[in-house]
């Protein structure tokens, strides 16, 4: 079983520690996406799994076999690079065949494998071209072909879509998802784009400063972010964060004084809240609506309205300066400069403590 297991993986470059004690299990056939801001260590982690960087500390195993000391080629992995890394002096055919050269396959066998791969990726008419004669999307497919042909047990992708334009990116994303289903292989994919992560992953690993902030299914991360970082990173536009202080709390719910002076009542808060405790309320833009509809009401003035057609994003600020984004219907009549009251159901509110850890997920159950 080609599970990938990381136990206590750490890595330093010189005196800077890039990864701290990473523990993770990627199951056979899973599509696991590492996501995080640049410099969070996600690419280093991928390169460690590939064998391009040494393991600083900890144990890495693939399919139950410890691979710390194995060369990349012996790990039964294949990698697709951000720059595609196509050999510019070789034709598409030779690019795809290059990796088979060293595994000692017979010529006819290699040829059959290359042609089958080209068939899958619609590269057959391009086999005799050099990379410079290919479009960005075609190069991307060759890079993927080079990985497929080796029939690895784990595919590694390092931001493979970042060099493509927006339209092609969406297409290729769907192609990769299809490929994953078709091959039923384990895939590990690095990106900084949370949309890519949400759409492709069966498991998302959010990394920040070399630590795993949270790992789980996309919707689990969306509905039950473990801390403020994950809450802010997953979802677009970002979750609104409003500072507040607990006034009173009992079995029925909690009263919380917000930074702009208003007070709000939340029902059925499962966490123990002490009066006077500092908290942060998190509400996603799509869970708010204009008007007095819910128990959590906020009043502010509108700075700008972006009309996308299917929705309008309203950007406003509260009396204390907190910025709030609201997703309202496409035909919303809100105008910039006007005053607006927005509200949310108490079930849509995430509560975080002063350290940014989630207190209670009273949000819509996953």
């Amino acid at each position: 079983m080609p599970d990938v297991t990381l136990r206590g993986i750490s890595k330093s470059f010189g005196t800077t520690q890039i990864l701290h004690d990473i523990n993770l299990e990627v199951k056979d056939g899973e599509f696991c996406v590492f996501v995080g801001p640049s410099g969070c260590g996600k690419t280093t982690l991928l390169r460690i799994i590939a064998g391009l960087e040494t393991v600083g500390a900890g144990e890495l195993s693939i399919g139950g076999r410890r691979v710390n000391e194995l060369a990349p080629a012996e790990r039964r992995i294949a990698m697709v690079f951000q720059s595609y890394a196509l050999y510019p002096h070789m034709t598409v055919y030779r690019n795809i065949a290059f990796g088979l050269k060293f595994s000692g396959g017979r010529k006819a066998e290699v040829d059959a494998k290359v042609r089958r791969t080209a068939e899958i990726l619609h590269l057959t008419p391009l086999l005799n071209r050099k990379p410079r004669d290919l479009s960005g999307g075609q190069r991307q497919r060759v890079a993927i072909g080079r990985a497929i042909v080796r029939e690895p047990s784990v595919f590694l992708f390092d931001e493979p879509l970042s060099n493509l334009d927006a339209a092609l990116r969406v297409n290729t994303r769907i192609e990769i998802a299809k490929l994953h289903r078709q091959l039923a292989a384990t895939m590990i994919y690095v990106t900084h784009d949370q949309v890519e992560a949400m759409t492709l992953a069966s498991k998302i690993v959010v990394l920040n400063h070399g630590r795993i902030e949270q790992a789980g299914a996309p919707l689990e991360l969306y509905h039950r972010p473990r801390n403020l970082f994950v809450a802010g990173f997953i979802g677009s536009p970002k979750m609104n964060l409003i500072k507040g202080r607990v006034v009173a709390s009992d079995a029925e719910g909690a009263r919380i004084a917000l930074a702009d002076g208003r007070e709000t009542r939340l029902r059925k808060v499962e966490a123990a809240l002490a009066p006077g405790q500092e908290v942060t309320l998190g509400i996603r833009p799509e869970h708010m609506s204009a008007g007095q509809g819910g128990p959590v009401a906020l009043e502010g003035s509108v700075d700008a309205v972006e009309r996308l057609g299917e929705a309008s994003y309203v950007y406003m600020h509260l009396a204390d300066g907190t910025n709030i984004t609201l997703r309202s219907p496409g035909d919303s009549k809100v105008e910039p400069g006007s005053a607006l009251t927005v509200s949310a159901a108490s079930g849509a509110v995430h509560l975080f403590d002063a350290d940014g850890l989630a207190l209670a997920h009273i949000a819509i159950p996953a």
Partner: protein, 317 residues
């Protein structure tokens, strides 16, 4: 030149600019370059078609100088000798220089190499110095009088290897070629080093993931990608070698001894032009030799431009 400005192709903002600017900017360079470089080159070729009588008056003589150069034993033997020596000089350069240059560059381009800049700077140092000075330095070192090299070979247990390399007919040319390689190996090293650094790390990583070891990576990925640079080094060396003069003049003098064993086209040209010992100089024959050198270099450059460079296009990395 350059004064004739085509207005039709210009945009409105450019049209307001009078052509006098262009002329003023170009004139100094074009003038000096034309008068002291291009004109003398063309005039030399023209002059090769003349002969001088005993009063120093030049007469048009067609290809007479070239016919003499190829058929009169006085000229032809020396010309052939110089040409063959020059070819040997070049071949030694290309082979030894590229092998050492590639090896040094490959080592210098290893990731996280301690002291990289210092090595590079020091190894390049001889390239900066005058060929004449280098010639004298090696003449002293190889001199049996001083005995430095003899002592050195004794110290490493190979005293029988010592010989007056610069003085023997059989070894003079090879020795001088190797001195020149020693001096200029910094150039191929530097250019190949830069070319190696330009190969994206992703390519090497990809090959590693594909199962290639260090040697595979070098021969299948890196070497093909630095071939254009090696071609460039070869043509630069070719041009430099076929008008070389200083080193042999410094080490062996005008006669390129012993017995013309180290004579190349540059020294042959100088002797023909200025004469030596009792032999008087012959400017028109000198011009003919220069014209031949010009043709040889031109052929070399053409082969490079249309034969080699075309085939080894640089890859957009």
């Amino acid at each position: 030149m350059g004064g004739d400005v085509s207005l039709a192709e210009q945009t409105a903002s450019e049209r307001r600019r009078p052509w006098s600017h262009i002329l003023v900017f170009l004139a100094p360079a074009a003038l000096i370059y034309t008068v002291f470089s291009i004109y003398p080159l063309l005039d030399t070729i023209r002059y090769a078609l003349y002969t001088q009588d005993e009063h120093g008056v030049a007469h048009f003589a067609g290809l007479a100088n070239f016919v003499d150069l190829f058929s009169l034993p006085v000229w032809a033997d020396q010309f052939r000798n110089a040409l063959v020596n020059n070819l040997i000089f070049f071949v030694i350069h290309v082979i030894v220089q590229n092998i050492i240059g590639i090896a040094l560059a490959a080592m210098l381009s290893l990731p996280k190499l301690f002291g990289r800049n210092l090595y590079r700077t020091l190894i390049f140092l001889p390239t900066m110095l005058s060929v004449v000075i280098i010639g004298f330095v090696w003449q002293l070192i190889l001199s049996p009088l001083w005995g430095v090299s003899e002592g050195f070979l004794k110290a490493i247990g190979l005293p029988q290897l010592f010989a007056p390399w610069l003085g023997q007919e059989s070894t003079a040319l090879v020795t001088i070629s190797l001195i020149s390689v020693w001096q200029f190996v910094g150039i191929p090293m530097m250019l190949i080093y830069a070319a190696l650094l330009n190969i994206p790390e992703d390519l090497v990583d990809a090959a590693t993931v594909d199962g290639a070891n260090h040697l595979h990576v070098f021969f299948y990925v890196k070497l093909p990608l630095i071939l254009p640079t090696i071609g460039l080094v070869a043509i630069l060396t070719f041009v430099g070698n076929f008008n070389a003069f200083d080193l042999i003049y410094a080490v062996k003098g005008t006669l390129a001894g012993p017995n013309f064993a180290s004579d190349i086209l540059g020294t042959f040209f100088y002797r023909t032009f200025f004469g030596y010992q009792l032999q008087l100089g012959n400017p028109t024959m000198g011009a003919a030799v220069a014209t031949m050198m010009f043709l040889i270099i031109l052929i070399g450059v053409m082969i490079y431009l249309f034969g080699v460079q075309r085939r080894m296009q640089r890859y957009a990395l």
